[in-house]
Symmetry: D2
Subunit: 357 residues, 4 copies
């Protein structure tokens, strides 16, 4: 079978591999729609997770089941499925401690295009099919559905961790597709005023549709100062960090009220100095005593999560297909889509590849 | 001054009283809009809280500040304000334990038309003005604003206590104005499928606008059975109880998944038998071990709550004015509005009185 | 192999069965120590879970691994293990929702002596060995260890669900071994004053050692009234219900402060009337609005739980062996031990059977 | 009256001031026992909160009520009281948001020896007496009681914020009196294994009495590496940070399991570089996605807290008087006690001054 792979740091290409084998509780899935992620770009061109050779990329997919193991009960070949970016080993210790995305060690629930071949192949392997796959409703567009595995799950997590109360105020730093999903998530948790920090017109348009009430752009001045000014110096009740460089937590802390949560769903790809550090600001953090807690997470995976997020779309609570700014048709367009993600033209929100031409 | 009072159990009437006196931290407020509540009906015609003589009724109001005490900092005469139904004594013990609605004893935060004269007077007294009043935005319609003090605060609490996750399923039993607000609250917390249990067409119409995806009517059969059937026997993730008789928790438990929360915002005005009991069903409750927890609350009051709920309206997250089905003009229409509440015609959602003719 | 079984409702006896078969992820265990539970008595002589034929009883055991399946990684024959009373299927939906004890339906994590043969056999089967067995430290006495699977796990859960704050007050209703563990659990969560409600001298002695500061006996009058009197009419911050008849929640609600949690770990074996109901008291419950929430649970199982509870004993935080009031030696003493549990003599706390003579 | 004051940065001395005036809801208190705090040292000799002139120092006191305002109900002259270091304005906005220590702005609940004269005077002023004072039980030693206002409240908060489960593992970095109280707090929340990081023999002795199971000293090598080695590379479930320099969070993150909480109760008096930053380690923090949340707080104040902590002592749950290593008699010994705190001899735990000679 064919797959779009990372050949080595800095290089991608199509390769041939054997079709993956299916364990007794696993499934083999053929993709229906795929989406490249900024993480794929980090992985290949920044070497963010270290060297990999001939590893098929990709972790955002919906597909159709091709094969299931003997112990799989709830899925059969032909079923249309949502595949989470994160596929925990549900029968391990970290689940019992309450942290399924961390099974088998730090970020261990993240397997696709990290520890094993990703979803950018003609077929791909899913561990624990009954626990990790979600049923894909017939009525749902593939452009919407393919946002569930990572964009919605990560973005909404940002909002869920932010301790949003009905009517409280939120700032979302960064309005790429994860930040946009964070805005939608903040609205879904009942936020009142929502600041979106970003400057690209296409993204701003969606941010407003998803619930942003105020747009803050760096072009108008320091963004933290603008938010403080807009809130009479008070700051906001919650901050969701979905973008920015290694010093972005400084802004986040400075705009947070005492007692506000800083919810991070940013992948810090690099830090400062030899020690590779992420700085907090001592004063803005209230010398460590202002109850500005910093809460983190890795995209929740698993079947219940996927099926609940599908419910959000089915019942019209939000429409993620708005983010599919560039839709390609044909599996062989994957490379073009991924390179688009790398180049990140100003009008890009998220490229999607529909496998059938 | 004039006020619409409970003369004794079963009897209301207009009475004359002295204008209330203002303590150093308190305010005297003139109403702009008022709404009668089912509780007023319980209080007068069912004697639900015992005998009261010549007590001015009402606890749902927005108004304009007439006078403030010397220690009040944030409000002055002329300010337009939202007045919570529940006005806790914020400097007491129950607040420090985390239960402001219970200050000074069980349900002690409920003062208006319970321990002291309510808001159905030409003037009324508000304790701890800085802590309990909220600023009323100029742009907000009075019909919308007067829903904040009790309907939204109580209804949303039902959703907040129900442990709703993004995309999880909810059933709201009872779709009077509190239940409708519970539906809106469930949507504001991110619910996917929302069952509304009720049968009156006007209410059903609003339930759907507020987010109900399925309407269940007793006219079509046993409501619990209908919900179980619609969920393949699984039941729902959360149940909000906003209506029903003393045995309504039996239905609630029977439609709850193991692990589901039963969130009650029903005022149980009567129970069964001499011991005045509210029954749970042993089997449906999983013999007390199925993690079907029963969570309760009294309408949250206080300034932060009022101003956050105002934000919900300001930013268009929901429109409570849809519930103002009968709008009266003139303070002297209060009696008519209250009697309408008592008679509860089929098309009624909520009567509102705008004080200025 | 031999096992002590429920032959039918009302009758027990020794039977012969084939040694259980081991699935790929499972283990077969030989018991080292066993304990009968009040639940066994309910199951046999009250038919509490319905009819069962020739089902081996028991769910409290520590043992030694006899055989493991091919996919088991962390255990091997000869390993000494703690076996939880509740052995969830960790790769199912209820786990992802947060309720592992409810996998596969209401109370579905409870398999031993419910859906399959229990631990009162020469060998018994454990599903998902890596997820459900805990390593038994060499240094731990079997009398202490055998309390972990149910008594400590259930009793501590009562305290964990009770929202105990450091220094807050707790009442534990019922001081059998689960109630005693609830007292120890309340102390482990930092409770200040702890009321134990019971009257048997042996139990009272242990209650005090485990942290009870006040003992309340029905022999001195109404127990709820005594607790209210001792707290100047205020009641307590948390109530743990570990005993009592179907009307025990009435006492629990009456002694709870507004805002207090009622944490139930009682198995309600029977209710009132044809509808089999458990009554709440309308007034004591604050008409459903006093924030007296009723929280429930089923004994937490799984490996992490077992090994954490072992840590409690290893580090001397509490000594559960005090509860082993009657220690029998020899597997064939199981019947005597179970009948002792049935007869419940006044001096009994908990019988334990050490398998080796 | 006489008071021990900060004259300016770097200088202390006895000064004369008028006895403070009592507002209607306030109290004037005479000290019975006082304790200097490391914060006093920071304030004077490091200028940590900026310049202050002739401000009476101190925020740890128990005393006797000298005078109360007209609106005070629960205290009268002659009452013995515990005075919290943090005295929130309970009727302000931050309380309603859930953060009483942050009333009136960042760390605004900290008034003594910050915004107003502290407790090192012959008399001192307490705002909101009914809400902030706690009754001091007659039976309690003053050496024990004077630990409640800050040491126990801050130290226990460290444990409360650390998400400790019964039997889970904890590391406490720093075993000064706050760290020691953190160890005691971890035990009070049910921790199993507790690592205490420190090297001074007197402190180690108390750490063990309070529940530490393992002592880690920098003299034996890198402390983080020692803890990782002792836990087979896994790390701990919770970390409490009660000491260390501006880079201490790096150690904390490195020893935390994925999913572990980092609970800070350290006052970060200084940071690195011009931007005054506190660094996190990108890798040890799991690139911001390992669910190693950083939770912070300021010593909880208020009456309920004080009285609950008193219950802990009354019922023998722990004995804080062990920390009173140097007891002085006589108000005029305050200066000597404070200078001892400044010099921090190796055998010091905490100096206490009993006012009566």
């Amino acid at each position: 079978m064919k797959g779009l792979a990372m050949l080595k740091i800095g290089e991608i290409g199509w390769i041939e591999k054997d079709k993956p084998k299916c364990g007794p509780r696993d499934a083999i899935v053929k993709p229906l729609a795929l989406a490249p992620c900024t993480s794929d770009v980090h992985t290949v061109w920044e070497g963010a997770i270290g060297e990999r050779h001939n590893m098929i990329l990709g972790h955002e997919a919906v597909g159709v089941v091709d094969e299931v193991g003997n112990d799989v009960k709830d899925f059969k070949p032909g079923d249309r499925v949502i595949v989470p970016a994160i596929t925990p080993d549900w029968d391990t210790e970290a689940v019992q401690r309450g942290f399924p995305s961390q099974t088998g060690g730090v970020l261990g629930g993240w397997k696709f295009s990290n520890f094993k071949d990703g979803v950018f192949g003609e077929y791909f392997h899913v561990n624990l099919a009954d626990s990790n796959l979600g049923h894909l409703p017939d009525s749902m567009s593939l452009e919407a559905a393919v946002m569930i595995p990572d964009m919605l799950s990560t973005g909404f997590m940002g909002a869920e961790n932010a301790n949003i109360e009905i009517g409280s105020s939120v700032a979302v730093i960064g309005i790429g597709p994860v930040g946009l999903s964070g805005i939608a998530g903040a609205k879904l948790r009942g936020a009142g005023r929502i600041f979106g920090v970003g400057s690209r017109p296409n993204l701003i348009k969606i941010a407003k549709k998803y619930g942003a009430t105020d747009i803050i752009s760096y072009k108008e001045g320091d963004t933290a100062e603008q938010i403080l000014e807009a809130t009479d110096g008070e700051g906001v009740d919650s901050v969701i960090v979905s973008g920015g460089g290694p010093d972005i937590l400084i802004d986040a802390l400075n705009i947070a009220k005492p007692g506000a949560k800083i919810s991070n769903n940013n992948y810090f790809g690099s830090g400062f100095g030899e020690q590779d550090t992420i700085p907090l600001c001592r004063a803005g953090w209230g010398v460590g005593m202002a109850e500005k807690d910093i809460v983190t997470g890795l995209c929740p995976g698993g079947r219940v999560r996927m099926e609940r997020l599908a419910e959000v779309i089915t019942h019209g609570r939000m429409d993620p297909s708005l983010m599919a700014s560039h839709v390609f048709k044909g599996f062989d367009k994957l490379e073009e889509a991924l390179l688009l993600m790398k180049d990140k033209p100003r009008e890009l929100v998220k490229p999607v590849v529909l496998v059938e031409e």
